[in-house]
C-alpha cells in the first residue's frame, strides 16, 4: 500500500499523472487530504532535488529579513521543505510593517552582513538600488548554471518583472534599457473596489461604475444604512496613502506624478487632470469617507470592511480577499474592477509588489539566489496561492492553475473576474526616481490639508508641485 502510494505521487511529480488522476488515485488508496499533502510535498522535494543539484550549498547558512505578512506566513509554513531539499540552514527575523523598512534601511545603510535576502517593495528598490545596497539579479537570472530547470523566468507576469527593474536614471521607464533587476516579484496587489454585497443589496445598488457614481452611491449607502460610512481609502500622512486608490484614479483621469521633459523631471501633480480628479477624491472622502480619515492606513481600511463599518473600499484587491475569510463580514465581500474616469472603460490600477531582494553585503550570494529562486519559484508560489494566502500570484502558471481558480471561485466569487478585468491595465504608474518617499509623503500631507479645508485643492496642488520641483532641483534631477 505504501509502495503504491509512493509510486502514485512520484508519477505525479514526474508529470506522468494529472492532478485530477492523482486525487482520484489517492482517494482509492484511502489517503486523506492532509496525508496526501505531506506525501506530495515529500515526493516533490525528492523530484526537484533529483533534477538539479539543490544540495550544491549544503551546510551554508543564510538569514532573511521579513515583514509580517500573509506572504511571509506562506513561505515560512513551507520553509522546512526548502531546508530539507537543500541542506541549507535558513534563519529569519520578522518585523511588523510599522518598523520593517526602518530595519531594512538601517541594515543596508550600515553595510551589515547580517541579512542575505529581504522583502522589499518595488518603490523601495529605487532608493536602495542606486545607493549600491542591492545585487543586480540579472547576473543570476541569465546564468543557466545558477538556475534550476524549474525556475522559468518567463513565467513571471512581464509587467511585474519589469517593475522590479530600473536603470537608476530618474524618469527612465521601469524595465527599460540598461535596467538592473533589483528584486524578484513575490506577491502583488492591484487596486480595485471590494464591497459589502449585503449592504449594496439592502440599498438596492450595483457596484459603482466610476468616481462620480461612487460618490453618489457611497453617500446613499451611508444614509440608508445606520452606523456605517460609504467608502474606505487610506489617508495617513504617509507615502502609502498615494499608491493605492489615489494614484489609480489619477491615472484614469489622465494625470501623473511627473512629466519627463528632455530627460528631466517636471512635477505634474498640479495638472488640470490632477486638479479635476483630486477635487472629486477629496469630495468623496469629505462626503462619505471615515471621519478620522487622516489616521487611516491599510489596516484600518481593511478592518472596517471586514467589521461591517464601511460599505466598500477602493484599495488593494487582496485587502478585500483577506477580509473575505475570517472577518465578521466573511462571505459578504464582493470584488469589482474599477475605472475612476467615466470616459474610460478599462481600469488602470497602480500595483504594489512585495518582492525579494538580495543584499549587496551578503556573504553568501549564490546560496541566497538558491533560496530566492525557490521562494519565487512556481512550486512555492503554487503552494502559497492554493494552501495559504500568497495572493495575487506573480506567475502566469499559477493564474492558469485549475486548483487555484477553483479555490478562488469557490470562496472568493468575483475575484478572478475582477483580476482579469484589472490586470491588463495594471502596472506601477509612478515615475521611478530616488526621492519617491519624500515626494509621496509630502503629497499625502497636502491631501490632508485639502481634506481639512486648510487649503483649496488647486492651491494645495500648486504649492505641492512647487515644493516637489524644488526638492528635485536640490537633488540635481530637475531643472
Amino acid at each position: 500500500m505504501k509502495d503504491k502510494a509512493t509510486s502514485l505521487f512520484e508519477d505525479f511529480a514526474a508529470g506522468r499523472l494529472c492532478r485530477r488522476d492523482l486525487i482520484r488515485g489517492a482517494a482509492k488508496l484511502g489517503i486523506g487530504s492532509a496525508a496526501a499533502s505531506i506525501m506530495l510535498n515529500s515526493v516533490q522535494t525528492q523530484a526537484m532535488a533529483a533534477n538539479w543539484d539543490w544540495m550544491k550549498f549544503k551546510g551554508k547558512s543564510i538569514k532573511l529579513l521579513l515583514n509580517k505578512h500573509p506572504y511571509t506566513d506562506a513561505m515560512l509554513a513551507n520553509l522546512d521543505h526548502f531546508k530539507k531539499m537543500t541542506g541549507m540552514n535558513v534563519t529569519y527575523d520578522v518585523f511588523p510593517e510599522d518598523v520593517y523598512f526602518d530595519k531594512v534601511t538601517t541594515a543596508l545603510s550600515s553595510k551589515s552582513t547580517a541579512y542575505d535576502v529581504f522583502m522589499s517593495g518595488a518603490y523601495q528598490t529605487w532608493q536602495y538600488g542606486p545607493a549600491g545596497w542591492l545585487v543586480d539579479l540579472n547576473e543570476f537570472i541569465h546564468d543557466p548554471a545558477a538556475n534550476s530547470p524549474d525556475f522559468n523566468v518567463k513565467d513571471f507576469l512581464p509587467n511585474l518583472l519589469a517593475s522590479d527593474s530600473w536603470s537608476g536614471v530618474p524618469g527612465e521607464p521601469l524595465g527599460g534599457k540598461g535596467a538592473k533587476q533589483w528584486a524578484m516579484p513575490w506577491g502583488f496587489e492591484l487596486n480595485s473596489i471590494s464591497y459589502n454585497k449585503k449592504m449594496f443589496a439592502e440599498a438596492k445598488l450595483e457596484p459603482p461604475m466610476n468616481l462620480p457614481d461612487l460618490i453618489v452611491k457611497a453617500e446613499k449607502l451611508q444614509k440608508d444604512i445606520k452606523g456605517i460610512y460609504g467608502i474606505g481609502v487610506r489617508g495617513s500622512r504617509s507615502w502609502a496613502t498615494i499608491h493605492p486608490g489615489y494614484l489609480s484614479g489619477l491615472v484614469s483621469y489622465g494625470g501623473s506624478d511627473f512629466d519627463v521633459v528632455n530627460g528631466k523631471l517636471k512635477a505634474a501633480m498640479n495638472s488640470p487632470q490632477a486638479k479635476k480628479f483630486t477635487k472629486l477624491w477629496i469630495e468623496m472622502i469629505q462626503k462619505a469617507g471615515p471621519r478620522n480619515w487622516t489616521n487611516y492606513t491599510w489596516y484600518e481600511v481593511g478592518n472596517d470592511l471586514g467589521a461591517g463599518a464601511s460599505a466598500m473600499i477602493f484599495d488593494a484587491d487582496i485587502l478585500g480577499f483577506f477580509q473575505q475569510a475570517g472577518s465578521k463580514q466573511s462571505g459578504n465581500i464582493g470584488f469589482h474592477a474599477f475605472a475612476a474616469n467615466p470616459e474610460k472603460k478599462a481600469p488602470t490600477p497602480n500595483v504594489w509588489i512585495w518582492s525579494l531582494a538580495m543584499s549587496a553585503f551578503s556573504a553568501n550570494k549564490p546560496a541566497s539566489w538558491m533560496f530566492l529562486q525557490w521562494a519565487a519559484g512556481a512550486e512555492q508560489c503554487l503552494y502559497g496561492a492554493t494552501k495559504a494566502s500568497q495572493v495575487d500570484p506573480v506567475r502566469q502558471s499559477i493564474w492558469n492553475d485549475k486548483d487555484f481558480q477553483s479555490r478562488l471561485n469557490a470562496k472568493y466569487p468575483g475575484y478572478l473576474e475582477q483580476y482579469q478585468a484589472s490586470a491588463p491595465g495594471s502596472k506601477i504608474y509612478f515615475t521611478p526616481q530616488p526621492l519617491f518617499f519624500n515626494l509621496t509623503t509630502d503629497w499625502a500631507a497636502a491631501l490632508q490639508e485639502m481634506y481639512a479645508k486648510q487649503v483649496p485643492v488647486d492651491e494645495g496642488l500648486d504649492k505641492l508641485a512647487e515644493r516637489v520641483q524644488s526638492q528635485l532641483r536640490d537633488a540635481g534631477i530637475a531643472d
Binding site: T105, S109, S236, P290, R291, N292, F437, A445, E449
Partner: protein, 312 residues
C-alpha cells in the same frame, strides 16, 4: 644565611612601591567609567555635527560632500521648520505646564497618609507602566470617531463629529491629553515624595498661628517644593521637546504638518528619506534648544537649592 630583617624591609618597600603606584593610578581608574560614558555620549554627538555639515543622502552616495552650514540655512529659510520649532515649544509648554498643575493637585490630595491614599499612590503608577506607544494606540481606539468610547461621551454632551487627532484644530489638544495621561503620574509621584519630605515645623507653626491656608500654600509650601517642581519640570521638558512616540503613533506628524515636531521631522528625514545630513542638522538645532532650556532650569534649580540651604 638570609637576613630576616632585610627581607622584611624589602617586602615592606615593595608593598609601599605598589601602594604608591596604585595611588597614582587610582584616580584614573575611578574616572574611567565617567570617561567611557563621556566618549559614548560625545562620539554620536560629534558624528551628528559632522553629518550636519554635509550633503549626505544615503540614496545619493556620489553626492556626499561638505556643504558647511547649508543644511542649517535651508532649515531656517523654510517656513515649515519654523512651524516645527513653534509646535515643539508649544507642545512642551502645554504638557509641562498642565502636567505640573495637575500633578501638584494630585500630590496634594494624596499628601496625608491613609489606606485610600496609599492605595491610590500605587494605582497612580499604572499609566507609567504602559509604553507610550501602546497608550497612544489605546487612545487612538478610544477617540475613533466611529466607535471610540470618548467620541461617544462627547456626543452625549452635545459635541457631535469631534475628530480628535484627525482634525488640525483638535490634534494638539488630543496628543497633549494623551501625554498628560501617561506622564502626570510621574510628576505627582515626584512631588508627593517632595511633599512628604518637607519639614513639619513650619506647617505646625502656621497652624498654631492660624495662618490662612492660601498663605501656607503660596508662602511656605510652594517655595519649599519649588526645587522638586523644577526637577520634575526639567525631566518632563527634556522629554516633551523630544516627543516622538505619542505623536507619531497618533498622527505621524499630521494632519498636514500640524504636529510635525522635531523628532518626527528628523525621523522622516533619516529613515524614510535617507537624508542623514538634514536629519542631523535638525537634531543639532534640537540639541541647542534643549541645552539652552536646561541651562535656564539648572540655573534656577541651583539658586533655589542654595536658598533652601540658607546660602543665598
Amino acid at each position: 644565611m638570609p637576613n630576616p630583617a632585610a627581607a622584611t624591609m624589602a617586602v615592606s618597600h615593595a608593598k609601599r612601591r605598589s601602594g604608591a603606584r596604585m595611588a597614582r593610578i587610582l584616580p584614573y581608574l575611578l574616572s574611567l567609567p565617567a570617561l567611557l560614558t563621556c566618549i559614548g555620549i560625545l562620539v554620536p554627538f560629534f558624528s551628528a555635527v559632522y553629518y550636519a555639515l554635509q550633503r549626505y543622502n544615503l540614496a545619493f552616495p556620489a553626492g556626499r560632500k561638505f556643504i558647511w552650514l547649508d543644511n542649517f540655512v535651508q532649515l531656517f529659510l523654510s517656513g515649515e521648520f519654523w512651524h516645527t520649532i513653534t509646535i515643539s515649544l508649544l507642545y512642551t509648554a502645554l504638557t509641562v505646564g498642565l502636567e505640573m498643575l495637575l500633578g501638584l493637585a494630585i500630590a496634594l490630595l494624596l499628601w496625608r497618609r491613609s489606606f485610600v491614599t496609599n492605595l491610590l499612590s500605587v494605582a497612580l503608577i499604572l499609566p507609567l507602566m504602559v509604553a507610550p506607544e501602546i497608550a497612544s494606540l489605546m487612545w487612538k481606539l478610544m477617540t475613533n470617531a466611529n466607535f471610540g468610547i470618548l467620541s461617544y461621551f462627547v456626543s452625549v454632551i452635545g459635541i457631535h463629529d469631534f475628530r480628535w487627532a484627525s482634525a488640525p484644530q483638535s490634534a494638539l489638544f488630543t496628543v497633549v491629553l494623551v501625554d498628560m495621561w501617561v506622564y502626570t503620574p510621574f510628576i505627582s509621584i515626584l512631588l508627593l515624595a517632595g511633599l512628604r519630605g518637607l519639614p513639619r515645623q513650619p506647617f505646625e507653626a502656621a497652624e498654631l498661628d492660624g495662618v490662612p491656608t492660601s498663605f501656607v500654600f503660596f508662602r511656605i509650601m510652594l517655595p519649599m517644593l519649588l526645587p522638586y517642581m523644577l526637577t520634575a519640570g526639567l525631566f518632563r521638558m527634556l522629554d516633551s521637546i523630544q516627543q516622538f512616540d505619542i505623536i507619531y503613533a497618533m498622527t505621524q506628524g499630521g494632519p498636514g504638518n500640524t504636529l510635525m515636531v522635531f523628532q518626527i521631522q528628523a525621523y522622516l528625514q533619516a529613515f524614510t528619506f535617507t537624508n542623514i545630513g538634514r536629519a542631523s542638522a535638525i537634531l543639532v538645532v534640537l540639541w541647542a534648544i534643549t541645552f539652552a532650556l536646561s541651562k535656564v532650569f539648572m540655573k534656577n534649580w541651583l539658586r533655589l537649592r542654595e536658598r533652601a540651604h540658607g546660602l543665598a
